[in-house]
């Protein structure tokens, strides 16, 4: 480690190595975030310049407005439902696929490449691809099979549109999580696996008692990423359902976006954004603490 004595040296190395990135970080991310937090306690209307200070402190009024908004609660509950479903299914499927493509399987590299493809494409384009499937293609299946579930586009029915949203998200995320699980599985030393088969462990016992405990770091990363991604999901929601029909599939991020840029409700929109941050931060902290404990035992 370097320790410099002179103030001039210190300033010089700071300026050389860290001034530009830190300046960008502070101006682009930190200041808007902190200012946004402070603004939730004022009656700023979203139009006046923030620097004009042409607004008053109103305490927690924006928060009480936000919490009194029924649409916000709907969006929050829907987001929780969405996050749980996406996290559970993504991780189960990703882990299962990872087991499959790390076993003795011909063409396993080819399969890995295939499963990763949805991650290459942006959420907006993915959403549009599935718009076609859940509307035109579903109706076509309905025509030829007469099945009730396929008579109409899934995107015009609130429940089915929500299921569609979950399907697309799981489809998109699982390829990435598969790579994380593959990295974990490949990292398990071969002799441990061999020792367990010599001791007569069945494949299931081996998976349950040898492989899965060794995979806890991979589970941690994957859980963290799926939680974060699904709480912040926006693009697919916007492109696939646009929050419709009648704002029934609005996740909380899209809800905030619509409040701000469609309905110009900046004050409580920003309060909702802070609430979203608090939820995400709390879950992230709980998760890190819980997995740390699990790893130690």
């Amino acid at each position: 480690m370097y320790t410099e004595k002179g103030l001039l040296d210190k300033l010089k190395s700071f300026a050389t190595f860290s001034f530009i990135p830190l300046f960008a970080f502070v101006t682009v991310l930190l200041i808007p975030f902190l200012v946004g937090f402070l603004l939730t306690f004022t009656d700023w209307n979203g139009i006046a310049a923030i620097s004009s200070l042409d607004y008053n402190w109103v305490g927690l009024k924006n928060y009480s407005v936000a919490f009194a908004d029924k649409d916000f609660w709907t969006a929050l509950l829907l987001t929780f439902k969405y996050v749980i479903l996406v996290v559970v299914f993504t991780n189960i499927i990703a882990f299962a696929i990872a087991l499959l493509v790390t076993s003795k399987l011909s063409g396993r590299n080819f399969f890995r490449s295939i499963f990763f493809v949805p991650n290459l494409i942006g959420g907006v384009v993915l959403g549009f691809i599935w718009v076609f499937i859940f509307s035109r293609f579903v109706e076509y299946i309905g025509d030829i099979t007469n099945l009730a579930a396929f008579q109409h586009s899934w995107l015009v029915d609130p429940d089915k549109a929500f299921i569609a949203l979950v399907i697309v998200s799981v489809w998109q995320l699982s390829g990435y999580m598969m790579l994380i699980y593959i990295a974990g599985l490949v990292g398990i030393p071969n002799d441990i696996i061999e020792a367990s088969s010599i001791d007569g462990a069945s494949p299931w016992q081996r998976l349950r008692h040898i492989v899965m405990p060794l995979m806890i770091p991979a589970f941690t990363i994957s859980l963290f990423l799926t939680l974060r991604n699904s709480f912040m999901a926006f693009d697919v929601n916007l492109a696939l359902t646009g929050g419709g029909p009648f704002r029934s599939t609005e996740l909380v991020t899209l809800h905030i976006y619509n409040e701000a840029f469609r309905f110009q409700n900046y004050g409580d929109g920003q309060a909702k954004a802070v609430i979203l941050f608090v939820i995400v931060a709390t879950i992230a902290i709980i998760q890190v603490l819980a997995t740390n404990r699990l790893e130690r035992t």
Binding site: M1, Y2, T3, E4, S13, T16, F17, S18, I20, P21, L22, A24, F25, V28, L29, L30, P32, F33, V35, G36, L39, G46, A49, I50, V101, S103, K104, L105, S106, N109, F111, I114, F115, F116, I121, G122, G123, V124, F128, I129, F132, R136, F137, G175, L179, I180, A183, G184, A218, R228, F234, D235, L238, A239, I256, Y257, A260, A273, L276, F277
Partner: protein
């Protein structure tokens, strides 16, 4: 044993079909006319007509959107190699208490959802008249991307032995020369991972450019969005637009899939 292997293979094939089906459906229908799609979306096109593609290419202003995306992504990705690697070097190698605090703030910032700062961001930079150029957008990408890239470089630089720095110092190199000639060349593997992650993020990003760019400098996701919005019911045309939008990254993936997959796997363990 043989049967078991085949069962696994079959399972993998079924999964692969499910994963690839949406793309194939889009591809098939992009060559068809509307009536043909309505009649049977599963059937191969009667003839591979490029009419939809030509129309979509023009209406999307494809060439311009493609180059905007390319310029922004390449510049931002380079910027996100240079500055985070320097910052990480500084945070690891310079022994100051505050460096640890800076590092913790950077990590903590990664859980801030964009929506939590979107409204003040638009207000501040709108008033500064900065929501209209590709150059400022690159600057925003530096601000939003610096935490993750620095975090990854930080872990890697920590594992480089101090002895290398010390021997370079004895030979008369200054700090910047050490960074430039000793550290930076050793960062190649982690840089590959960072480049892949940042390229996918920036190339596909929708929300930030939708807030920070004018019509004339639209990127590919923005132009796809408005194009699809206008032609949703003209299925064939819309599908051709989607294929065009995916084409560059798919071609890149076909060429570099081994590197992309292994690069991301490397990053996943860290």
């Amino acid at each position: 044993m043989k049967i078991k292997l085949n069962f696994k293979f079959l399972l993998a094939v079924i999964f692969a079909i499910v994963y690839i089906f949406p793309f194939s459906l889009v591809l098939i229908n992009s060559f068809k006319e509307r009536v043909e799609i309505i009649a049977n979306p599963l059937k191969l096109p009667a003839e591979f007509s490029l009419t939809n593609y030509i129309t979509a290419y023009e209406r999307m202003d494809y060439a311009s959107a493609f180059f905007n995306s390319l310029i922004i992504t390449v510049t931002a990705v380079i910027v996100l190699i240079i500055f985070p690697s320097m910052l990480a070097y500084y945070l690891v190698r310079f022994n100051y208490r505050r460096n640890q605090i800076i590092f913790i703030i950077l990590i903590a910032s990664m859980i801030i959802p964009f929506q939590a700062l979107m409204i003040p961001f638009v207000s501040i930079y709108g008033k500064l008249d900065m929501l209209n150029s590709r150059l400022y957008l690159v600057y925003f990408y530096l601000g939003f991307g610096v935490a993750l890239s620095t975090f990854m470089y930080h872990g890697f630089i920590k594992s480089i032995p101090m002895a290398l720095d010390e021997s370079a110092t004895i030979e008369g190199a200054n700090k910047f020369q050490i960074y430039r000639h000793i550290i930076l060349p050793m960062l190649k593997p982690i840089t590959a991972t960072i480049v892949i992650l940042n390229s996918l993020w920036i190339w596909n990003d929708f929300l930030l450019p939708s807030l920070a760019l004018f019509q004339k400098s639209r990127t590919l996701p923005l132009s796809t969005f408005s194009f699809f919005g206008r032609f949703t019911t003209d299925f064939g045309l819309a599908m051709a637009g989607l294929v065009l939008s995916m084409l560059p990254i798919i071609i890149l993936y076909l060429a570099l899939q081994r590197q992309i997959i292994s690069g991301i796997s490397e990053g996943a363990v860290k």
